[in-house]
Symmetry: C2
Subunit: 350 residues, 2 copies
DNA sequence: CTGTTAGCGCGTTCAT
DNA sequence: ATGAACGCGCTAACAG
């Protein structure tokens, strides 16, 4: 049906050329604006004729054909593993804001299995937010064979691609130490991924800080969950329902902290008073909610990420602009807000 | 840098052919795994040589070039207006599950401005989740000129594209009437979009049901917000902080209902006891949370949506398969869960 | 049965 | 302002 209706076929540049009575070259020049209105080459009346013809036919240039010739797709791909994470939404928002004025369209790849897709689907640049162990080789090969990559990963060295490292360790340490000013019974909420319990630097910061303060680590204070909001909520509920429940929670991601706040309130606790909760990531979400979320995270992270990605996307042709640091490191800050305020000797919970 | 490293350029089919010592046609046959009409026509040793060469060069077929020839991109585009809405995540999840086995990649377009993008970026099919008044013409034109569209919209007739209608009115009426069994002071949370206060059928269901029950509508019980979760949270807090606060809330979307639950808990109320909250949409999220969300919504919606979209995407070539209904209507059900349980005469709140 | 030649389909771009 | 080559992978028609 859709196909059979009215014209049905997609108009090509040749149809436009015929209707306007000019050559395809002229049409191309007019519509891509390379020699169009002011420049030398196409007269105003001709340009008008072409535009009218294109309009009448409903002509739209074919990206695929254009890409084959120019090597550019005017597209960046964002491969985001966990779309429900506000972190991903922040990435999207920033990139979109930066890309649209440049005429570049961000496309989001929700599948975690980017390896298969990125080889064939070309984009001017690709952002990848998570690299599993077994994907590293594929990543390297993609970069070797012409895919422009920007990868978010703490433990990766740049090899033909950019690495954005947001070194979490020291920042997370700050978060736990902030809690240690007012607490002794501190729980940890962390996703049970490969880098979960032992390897993750975010978890290690918790272990180390506790050890350093001379506090033994309690197994029942570690809430592992399945990397979903619902899982984090359940884990928080579990931990907060213990007989001698913790007075503070350190969550290794902001969305887990948000879930923990909801869980605490559901259990009738006042967050920031009865229990302190701090997150990791400095997501915009946390700033806007109530109580506002105390967190640690990089400053200006998303905007700088977007700028780097788009610089790479647009620098495809001019090799000079491609130079520059292949690693982007971010300093982390502590953002003390309502969910885990400063605690003095008078207000501390031990 | 990325460009200059090792090989740097993207290998083409010709490079593979040269390295393998065969023609490009042979390479194409081997790598796409087909041969004209008859059976497989490339000898094993040759096929091996080709595969080895392709592997060594890191060759990946170029989608753009393939698309230009075959007219198919093996891609569907999902244009989703509000990515933070769990509804969008459900769409993505369903489509992904259905698409991947078919070798089709779903790409997500987060920008609400799909008009510009869809003309140039070709996909085998496109799903659009919201059409503003001024976009209707553009939509029609896109469909006329060969874009395969599936549109989610209540008030649109199919004109060269499929329309998915999930007629909300009667379902929403059921939601409000469910609350009316136990309540008289019922608030409404609804986004203040164009279709917000007056036009939206979801809001109208509230007005009509109240009128029908002989309850005058109170302006301070209508919480308008800005179509964000944070906004919904604020609106819910506002309504629940009124001197004679409502005992029930009808939220016109599930995410607003979720925000309302959080707000109520934050205010120390027990949801499902002190206050009942019901949503609209039947999102998976609501089922998993605690308390589970009472809601109304279509049954089997996301899977059927995905199936239709992929049928359209794959039927591009065979016109026969394109026949069928251009409108997909969904019956709505009431899902009574914890956040707004059944109320008998004994438990009603008035 | 196996492999190659040649030309297609796009929009772009260089010479004319 | 134009004709024709170009870049890519696909595939009908052909040659061995």
């Amino acid at each position: 049906m859709a196909k059979a209706s009215s014209t049905g076929v997609r108009p090509t540049i040749r149809m436009v050329a015929e209707l306007a009575g000019v050559s395809t070259a002229t049409v191309s020049y007019v519509l891509s604006g390379r020699r169009g209105d002011g420049g030398p080459g196409v007269s105003d009346p001709t340009a008008e004729k072409v535009k009218a013809a294109a309009e009448r036919l409903g002509y739209r240039p074919n990206q695929a054909a254009r890409a084959i010739r120019t090597g550019r797709t005017n597209t960046v791909i964002l491969s985001l593993t966990m779309l429900s994470d506000p972190w991903s939404l922040s990435v999207i928002e920033s990139v979109q804001k930066a890309a649209v004025p440049l005429g570049i369209t961000p496309m989001i790849l929700g599948d975690a299995d980017w390896v298969k897709v990125l080889g064939t689907h070309n984009a001017d640049a690709v952002f990848v937010d998570a690299v599993r162990e077994e994907q590293r080789d594929a990543l390297r090969k993609l970069a070797e064979h012409g895919t422009t990559l920007v990868v978010f990963d703490e433990g990766l060295e740049p090899e033909g691609f950019d690495v954005i490292r947001s070194i979490a360790g020291p920042g997370c340490r700050m978060a736990v130490e902030h809690l240690l000013h007012g607490h002794r019974r501190i729980a940890c909420l962390t996703p049970a991924t490969a880098s979960g319990t032992s390897g993750g630097s975010r978890y290690r910061a918790y272990s180390d800080a506790l050890a350093n303060a001379g506090i033994p680590e309690r197994e029942d204070y570690v809430g592992l969950f399945d990397a979903t909001s619902a899982g984090a909520y359940a884990a928080a509920t579990r931990v907060l329902s213990l007989p001698d429940r913790p007075t503070a929670i350190y969550a290794t991601t902001d969305y887990a902290a948000v879930s923990a706040i909801n869980a605490a309130q559901r259990l009738g606790m006042a967050v920031g008073t009865d229990v302190d909760i701090i997150g990791v990531g400095n997501t915009v979400e946390g700033e806007r909610m109530s109580p506002s979320l105390s967190t640690v995270g990089p400053v200006d992270f998303f905007d700088k990420l977007a700028r780097l990605l788009l610089r790479r996307a647009t620098a495809q042709s001019s090799p000079e602009a491609t130079a520059g640091p292949a690693v982007l490191d971010f300093p982390w800050h502590l953002f003390v807000r309502e969910s885990a305020p400063h605690r003095s000797a008078a207000t501390r919970l031990y």
